[in-house]
């Protein structure tokens, strides 16, 4: 044991606390009741937060782990989302206990909570990884618990389909991503990200690099796209979301996206200054535009709520990629950009606003749980409760559960980007970052400016398309009436998650500054900025000559 590894352990203390808490949950499962597991999980996350708070704020680096503003932002995002998801998942427990009926007392197990904690530890590890091996280990520590959670929650045919589909596709994506990492190692001769970046910018024009780098970039993007649920690895999302519980859907639509964004961000930081390729941002811009359009258009025709939200989460993956693309273009050649670092900050900010609204939405659905079918005393015995799954099941919710209807409406409007909700501030930041690329140049066809103005237009028009299906949900809740009551059997925890998200949404609406400042620091630490003033003073003549 040398001092380096001791230092690494201390840097990773928050993750280690999560793993210890997971072990407590696993071992304690033999003695404790079902709910205790989630209490352990919440306590573990809280302890991890305390440890993370105690850590020095200075950037630190040791043996494949780098702590900077970016990884700190990711870690806190993961832990905060972890608390909220914990509540939603606990809500699942009650709801699914009802679904399974009195015969099967398997509403969930303590092990679920432990597995969930391992997932969080893995995701946090992805955030702090400064080395390809640690990054991959972290990603696998996200994937494997996800398989288990998907398989544990549901035992019906759809649940099995969801679990298997996710399992196989995730394996393929991981394998492809591993190839990308191997290629990067082959080019640079190191697994350390900083070393790779340095080596690439030193001899970016090397022959091997030229041949291998596009391949590596492409495969890395495929790997990230699976986690983001972005084109071309988006198609599993509707089936998997439909086949699993609301809590798992909340998890799937947020945590893997964090991992995907981290991978893309690290990739941009590693390869762009070097290869000078327009390739990376071009791929990202096209994928972003295609992803958001595909997601939104698919969502227009969905009648199942979870499928609809799956499509919506695909669309949001597209929005997220706009900022990464802008950051990537900004890193290629600094001077001409008005706000080069804005892109990554915008993406991180948007990620947080998206996650709050999405978890709140699934929390509300988990909380609502079941509804009674239409029934009169004369038509025989009362039929069992039905799980809320289709959009029609929300009919008249404003009458039967006004608080949940209001919360869902706020979350949907935020996702649609209606001001002054957080989603609006996020889209504002994304649009500004895209329009800021070559911000003073003419919009000539084929120029980089034209690409980014184009993707900004696609983004805002997609926001209008998305409003169509979000409004369909709102219209069902407010403009229709129903005779069927809602059970609201998802338990207190999911309701608390919903309300907590509502409070967060309100806070960010009124005071977006705090979150944006944190996201800005994180984004800037990752993609070093050429000072905005330099870009601003850049005369248009040099731009015209490009």
């Amino acid at each position: 044991m040398n001092t380096t590894s001791l230092e690494t352990f201390s840097l990773l203390a928050p993750e280690i606390v999560l793993v210890i808490a997971a072990l407590v949950a696993y071992l304690g499962g033999a003695f404790m009741g079902l709910r205790a597991g989630w209490l352990v999980a919440a306590a573990g996350i809280a302890a991890s937060m305390l440890v993370a708070r105690g850590q020095a704020a200075d950037p630190a680096f040791s043996a494949g782990v780098s702590i900077d503003a970016f990884s700190t932002f990711i870690r806190w995002t993961v832990l905060s989302l972890g608390i909220l998801l914990c509540l939603v998942q606990a809500g699942d427990l009650f709801a699914s206990a009802v679904s399974r009926g009195p015969g099967l007392h398997r509403g969930g197990t303590c092990e679920e909570a432990g597995t969930f904690l391992l997932l969080l530890a893995g995701l946090s590890l992805v955030g702090v990884a400064g080395d390809l091996v640690v990054l991959f280990a972290g990603l696998e520590l996200v994937s494997i618990p996800t398989y288990i959670l998907l398989a544990l929650k549901r035992t019906d045919a759809r649940g099995q389909e969801a679990g298997l589909k996710y399992f196989f596709l995730s394996l393929v994506a991981s394998a492809i991503f591993l190839y990308a990492l191997a290629s990067l190692y082959g080019i640079a001769g190191s697994t350390d990200m900083a070393a790779i970046a340095a080596s690439l910018s030193a001899d970016g024009a090397g022959r091997i690099a030229q041949a291998m780098l596009p391949l590596a970039i492409g495969m890395a993007i495929v790997g990230a796209a699976f986690r983001l649920a972005a084109v071309p690895m988006h198609f599993y999302a509707p089936d998997v979301y439909e086949g699993t519980s609301p809590g798992n859907a909340a998890l799937l639509s947020t945590l893997p996206k964090v991992a995907g964004i981290v991978v893309l961000a690290r990739l941009v930081a590693m390869v762009t200054p070097a290869a000078g390729p327009d390739l990376l941002w071009q791929i990202l811009v096209v994928l972003a535009a295609v992803t958001m359009t595909v997601g939104n258009v698919m969502a227009l025709w969905q009648s199942n709520i979870r499928r609809l939200l799956a499509c919506s989460s695909i669309a949001h993956a597209g929005y997220l990629m706009v900022g990464v693309a802008a950051a990537s273009a900004g890193a290629v050649s600094g001077g001409t950009h008005l706000f080069a670092a804005g892109g990554m900050s915008a993406t991180l900010f948007y990620l947080a606003t998206y996650a709050i609204a999405t978890i709140g939405l699934f929390g509300a659905i988990a909380y609502l749980g079941h509804r009674w079918p239409e029934w009169t005393a004369t038509s025989g015995p009362r039929p069992p409760r039905e799980e809320i799954s289709s959009v029609d099941d929300l009919d008249g919710l404003s009458g039967t559960n006004p608080v949940a209807a209001f919360a869902i409406t706020v979350f949907l409007l935020s996702l649609a980007g209606i001001p002054p909700l957080p989603g609006f501030w996020g889209k504002l930041a994304l649009a500004l970052s895209a329009l800021g690329v070559d911000g003073t140049a003419a919009i000539d066809s084929g120029s980089r400016r034209a690409w980014f103005v184009g993707v900004a237009v696609v983004l805002v028009l997609n926001a209008a398309i998305a409003a169509a299906y979000y409004l369909r949900l709102i219209a069902a809740m407010y403009f229709k009436t129903t005779k069927r009551g809602v059970q609201a059997d998802g338990g207190l925890a999911a309701g608390v998650a919903m309300l907590a998200c509502l409070v967060l949404v309100a806070t960010v609406s009124i005071r977006p500054r705090g979150l944006l400042a944190a996201a800005s620091r994180a984004g800037e630490s990752l993609t070093p900025v050429t000072a905005p003033s330099a870009g601003a003073s850049q005369s248009p003549d040099t731009l015209a000559s490009r």
């Binding site: 008005l338 706000f339 804005g342 900050s345 409007l413 209606i418 001001p419 002054p420 609006f424 501030w425 504002l428 930041a429 649009a431 500004l432 329009l435 800021g436 911000g439 003073t440 140049a441 003419a442 919009i443 000539d444 900004a456 237009v457 805002v460 028009l461 926001a463 209008a464 409003a467 169509a468 409004l471 369909r472 219209a475 407010y478 403009f479 977006p512 500054r513 944006l516 400042a517 800005s520 905005p532 003033s533 870009g535 601003a536 003073s537 850049q538 248009p540 015209a544």
Partner: protein
């Protein structure tokens, strides 16, 4: 006056409806009358505050010079590249629209008094939230704050139409929302482009509308092939949102549906205030910030305005539904405003700015009256209505007053605005355009005059059918046979009204209409009171566009020189 500074006054005026909304919500358990009374009190208080603020504005000597009043600025999102401020203030452009929003909100509450029985708490809360948004959008002095209020007006109106509207309400609400949103997101990008351009060239990031307008005079967006016609692109982006809002033909298709399906209170706010946002946007953003593009587009928008006048009038002529007729008359009348605005002469633009208020008063009054007729007779079908003057003489008096105001009878407000717009347009056509354009402009101005005749034709025809002639439909509620009239549009010939079958205006309906009528006369008889405070601001907003237009028409084309001198 020291104790109550103007900016606190302004903030209080905008916040008052919001407070009222909370009060109405808290009173929800006490039933309909408590809720609607509290809503009425809130709107009256807001109106009083707004009126007092306007009086203070007019008393302040600095405002006559065109300086903004009651400035208020609180940082909202000042981080990195953002410098969004919660900054409010009133100037000549926004003054009357601010007052109109406060006035029509009271009307909207009073016309809903008996009409809304279902879920009244939600209705009045949304109406009050909408009032805050409407007041805020005119007072906003920050681009993002403007956009926040601009978009946020959609949300309450979406629910108002969708929950309390008529048969097709769900479709109308969604169509209204999506249509307007799709346009305004492009406006959003256009505004951001202006901010970024200004930031790059002035080396300071600001979202302040006035600073941006001044900055764009120094560093105009390029209007040459070299610069990629950026100014025109931004103009078109802004146009997308504003043209849908106005609406300029052919982007008007959402309007008749939304109006016909909206509850009366929603129609009053929509026609009276929200349509004006498009024109206000042109005056606030497009004209001062993008003068050369405005000058280039002006003839085409002038023509679209005329097309709207004629098209709206012709479609209104063949309507069988009274509310739809008035909706199309709105399309026609907004055409005059567009035409006056893009005639770009001082008389025409000032007339257009006044006509915003005039149309707000007359269309809101007419929609309110149609709502009252519908409450009484359960139909809006012109063929089924008739003889209302005998049964409800005061209703008929108000209906005719607003009809005359709408068709521009001298002595009433509509005449002043329309006359100024037409006068200014003829000025422009006579000696303000190059020879090549002259005949086209003259034809268009003459067509607009023909539109006045058409407008008189359909409005008077409808008034005659509805107010006079034999009775075709007996009054509805409270007379025990309401059910037989549930379906409208079949020309019921049963029901024989007795002479005692009176159904005239009730107190709250009179209270809703009387303030509007006062202003109809006031503006008609003393237009100077209303024109003078707005004139400097309107002239300032349009002067650079007018100069650019004159330059284009006389082919001196200083545009290239201006780009190079940057």
């Amino acid at each position: 006056m020291n104790g109550f500074s103007p900016h606190a006054h302004l903030l209080l005026t905008i916040a008052a409806p919001l407070v009222g909304a909370v009060v109405a919500w808290l009173l929800g358990s006490r039933g309909l009358s408590a809720v609607r009374q509290s809503a009425a009190v809130s709107t009256v208080v807001t109106l009083a505050l707004a009126a007092w603020l306007i009086v203070r504005y007019l008393a302040e000597p600095s405002t006559a010079a065109g300086l903004p009043f009651a400035l208020q600025e609180v940082p909202w999102l000042t981080e990195g590249i953002f410098d969004v401020r919660f900054s409010l203030g009133l100037d000549g452009l926004s003054l009357w629209m601010f007052g109109l929003a406060a006035l029509l909100s009271l009307t909207a509450v009073l016309v809903s008094w008996d009409a809304v029985q279902d879920r009244p708490v939600g209705f009045y809360v949304l109406l009050l939230v909408l009032e805050t948004a409407m007041l805020g959008v005119f007072a906003a002095r920050d681009v993002i704050l403007f956009y926040v209020f601009f978009e946020f007006t959609l949300v309450p109106l979406f629910f108002l139409i969708g929950i309390w509207g008529h048969e097709e309400r769900r479709k109308a609400a969604v169509k209204f929302f999506i249509y307007t949103l799709a346009g305004s997101v492009l406006t959003f990008l256009g505004l951001l482009t202006i901010v970024l351009w200004h930031a790059a060239h002035a080396n300071v990031v600001t979202f302040d509308i006035e600073a941006l307008a001044d900055g764009m005079m120094i560093h105009p967006l390029p209007m040459t092939a070299d610069g990629g016609w950026l100014q025109m692109i931004v103009f078109l982006a802004l146009l997308a949102g504003f043209a849908v809002k106005v609406p300029i033909v052919p982007l008007h298709t959402w309007l008749p549906l939304a109006h016909v399906e909206a509850p009366t209170g929603g129609s009053v706010d929509l026609a009276g205030v929200l349509l004006k946002l498009g024109i206000y946007g042109f005056l606030r953003f497009s004209m001062p910030m993008l003068p050369e593009a405005t000058a280039m587009a002006a003839p085409w928008l002038f023509a679209l305005g005329v097309a709207g006048i004629i098209y709206g009038a012709l479609v209104a002529l063949v309507q069988t539904d009274l509310k739809r007729l008035i909706a199309y008359s709105s399309v026609s009348h907004m055409g005059y405003i567009v035409m006056g605005l893009f005639a770009l002469t001082p008389v025409a633009t000032e007339g257009a700015n006044l006509q915003l208020v005039n149309h707000g008063l007359s269309s809101a009054g007419l929609f309110a009256l149609v709502g009252m007729i519908y409450e009484r007779f359960h139909t809006r079908n012109i063929a089924s209505l008739g003889g209302i003057a005998a049964k409800a003489p005061w209703l008929a008096v108000f209906f005719m007053l607003f009809t005359f105001s709408s068709i521009g009878l001298p002595g009433l407000n509509g005449f002043v605005g329309e006359f100024m717009i037409l006068l200014g347009s003829f000025q422009r056509a006579w000696d303000g355009v190059s020879i090549a354009w002259q005949s086209a402009y003259l034809v268009m101005a003459l067509l607009a005059v023909a539109g006045v005749v058409l407008g008189a034709w359909y409005m008077l025809w409808a008034t005659e059918r509805v107010m006079f002639g034999g009775s075709r439909e007996p009054p509805r509620a409270g007379h025990g046979h309401a059910d037989s009239h549930a379906a409208s549009g079949h020309g019921h010939d049963h029901g024989h009204p007795t002479p005692g079958d009176r159904c005239d205006l009730r107190w709250h309906e009179v209270a809703a209409l009387l303030p509007l009528a006062v202003f109809v006369f006031w503006i008609g008889l003393a237009p100077g009171t209303f024109l003078a405070p707005a004139a400097p601001a309107v002239r300032k907003a349009t002067s650079s566009s007018a100069t650019a237009f004159a330059a284009r028409m006389h082919d001196t084309a200083p545009t290239v020189a201006r780009i190079d001198s940057r």
